[in-house]
Amino acid sequence: MGDSLHCDLCGKPATVHLTQIVKNQIQKVDLCEECAQTKGVTDPEGFSLADLLAKSFAGPAEEPAELGAGNLVCEQCGSSAQNFKKTGRLGCAVCYDNLKPILLPLISGLHKGGQHKGKIPARQWRNLGLRREMENVERELQDAVKTENFEVAARCRDRLGALRAQLAAPAATS
């Protein structure tokens, strides 16, 4: 054991060594005191190596993104990547878009892949369909305007109005 272990995250001499079995695979991590602290390794509850591994071993391609990602702030709610690292919780649903670079590797490590395969809320499903249709009609409208086909354009506008009303309907009742 001539070469002493170095921290997998920052390269300093490692003093914390962890082994955990995730998905039937043994995973080992060596960390320095500081990184172990900041990654919450010392907190026995709720700590998962999978989570840490996902962050640290996301691959070299992700590294530059990760460096900048540490300063990300969600424009919607003002919560930051740093806040997430501290509390483990996000500020709002839009954080999943705005803090994507730090979240995606984490999510795929925590779960069985990153694609939802379960239930879809019925109204969302319908709204998704409505939004797709709106996009299509908008495109049609632009074409119609370009080609000065005003009859089609008018029809598109009517359709868009109807779609918008349909989308807004449930929000009005809630």
Binding site: L90, C92, A93, Y96, L110, H111, G114, P121, A171, S174
Partner: protein, 362 residues
């Protein structure tokens, strides 16, 4: 006391008709949901939390499942009331310490609860005694649908239901079973079993969830991953692990009876004597005695019909319940005195242990 109406019905481990079986006490499904247009509870301002509370309560009240439900604003409850709700598994510890806007809606039969402004805006829970994933999932799914009719939920086609913590993304589903495993505990095989279950991606917790001790040999087993699998597949996975554990528990019990049966029967006999005669009982000792008596019922040393009563006493001998019954906060020893008296009363009509039967079935 706002919660008194809820407590009028005696605590079962969970309510709902059919009694719990020998090893699986209860089945529970939890769904995490959030409103699309509000920050998550931990980040939301107080005014927003109150608005979320109002909207969720309105939505829940409008569902058929929550007809005539109990609606509780947690800030209006005292500590003892909250503790009792935690002990009944109707709210989490996290909710009980949450800030303004935290609340819970409990269905008339106590089988469903919707926590508001816990870690997520909504935490739906459906509980039933025994092993009943199919039924519980059907009920949870239906309750979720009814709420979704009234609320715009945070959802993405890729990541599913969006939650405050990424560990609950996707289905937001936690499927768990409460198991009574005295055989594995007495045979010192529980640690091994926990490790095996962990390797399969499931979590093992004590009676009161994260970080709680597994007193009374009661353990909760649940999935950890929520994204990348359908609800049905998650439930299937938990079920298959559960079946393996049930088998192992049965084997452990059979071995205990084959080998050191005297030691086991001695333990059961002492537990019987203790709950019927002790004058000071800590909650841990009470849990362990009740656990042995439940095992006695499984081994037919006690009639089967005693099991529901024992399951109820597991909950009613918790510190909060003991103090509530005595109408006020009490110090440790006074509490132990009250607990012992309560159990003596409750179990005074317990039939004698029929030791001859220990060997008949096994």
């Amino acid at each position: 006391m706002q919660i008194l109406p809820i407590l009028d019905t005696p605590a079962e481990v969970v309510p709902g008709g059919s009694p719990s079986g020998p090893i699986v006490l209860s089945t529970r499904i939890r769904l995490a949901r959030n409103l699309r247009d509000f920050p998550f509870p931990g980040w939301a301002k107080e005014a927003q939390r109150r608005e979320i509370f109002t909207r969720c309560i309105e939505a829940a009240n409008a569902t058929t499942q929550m007809k005539k439900a109990y609606v509780l604003d947690l800030t209006a409850l005292d500590d003892l009331e909250k503790q009792v709700l935690v002990e009944r598994h109707l709210i989490s510890r996290e909710l009980s310490s949450a800030s303004p806007g935290a609340g819970v809606v409990v269905s008339r039969d106590h089988g469903m609860a919707v926590m508001i402004n816990e870690e997520d805006h909504l935490r739906l829970q459906v509980m039933r005694p025994g092993f009943q994933f199919k039924r519980v999932w059907k009920l949870a799914d239906a309750l979720d649908n009814s709420l979704e009719e009234k609320l715009d939920l945070a959802f993405s086609p890729e990541l599913g239901y969006l939650t405050a913590c990424p560990t609950n993304l996707g289905t937001g589903l936690r499927a768990s079973v409460m198991m009574h495993l005295p055989g594995l505990v007495l045979a010192s095989q529980m640690e091994q079993a926990i490790r095996a279950v962990n390797q399969l991606g499931l979590a093992v917790r004590g009676w009161y969830g994260e970080g709680s001790e597994a007193s009374g040999s009661i353990f909760q087993i649940s999935n950890q991953q929520t994204l990348g699998e359908s609800e049905e597949d998650i439930i299937k996975r938990v079920t298959s692990v559960l079946q393996t554990i049930v088998e192992q528990e049965q084997n452990a019990r059979a071995k205990l009876l084959e080998g050191d049966s005297v030691k086991l029967l001695d333990k059961i006999g002492r537990a019987y004597g203790t709950v019927r005669n002790a004058h000071l009982l800590t909650s841990v000792e009470a849990m362990n005695c009740l656990s042995l008596l439940r095992l006695a019922a499984d081994l037919t040393l006690l009639p089967d019909t005693e099991r529901p009563r024992l399951d109820r006493l597991f909950i009613e001998s918790q510190p909060g319940h003991v103090q509530l019954a005595a109408k006020g906060l009490m110090e440790g020893q006074k509490r132990d005195l009250a607990r012992a008296r309560f159990l003596r009363e409750q179990l005074s009509a317990l039939p004698p242990l029929n030791f001859d039967r220990a060997f008949e079935k096994n």
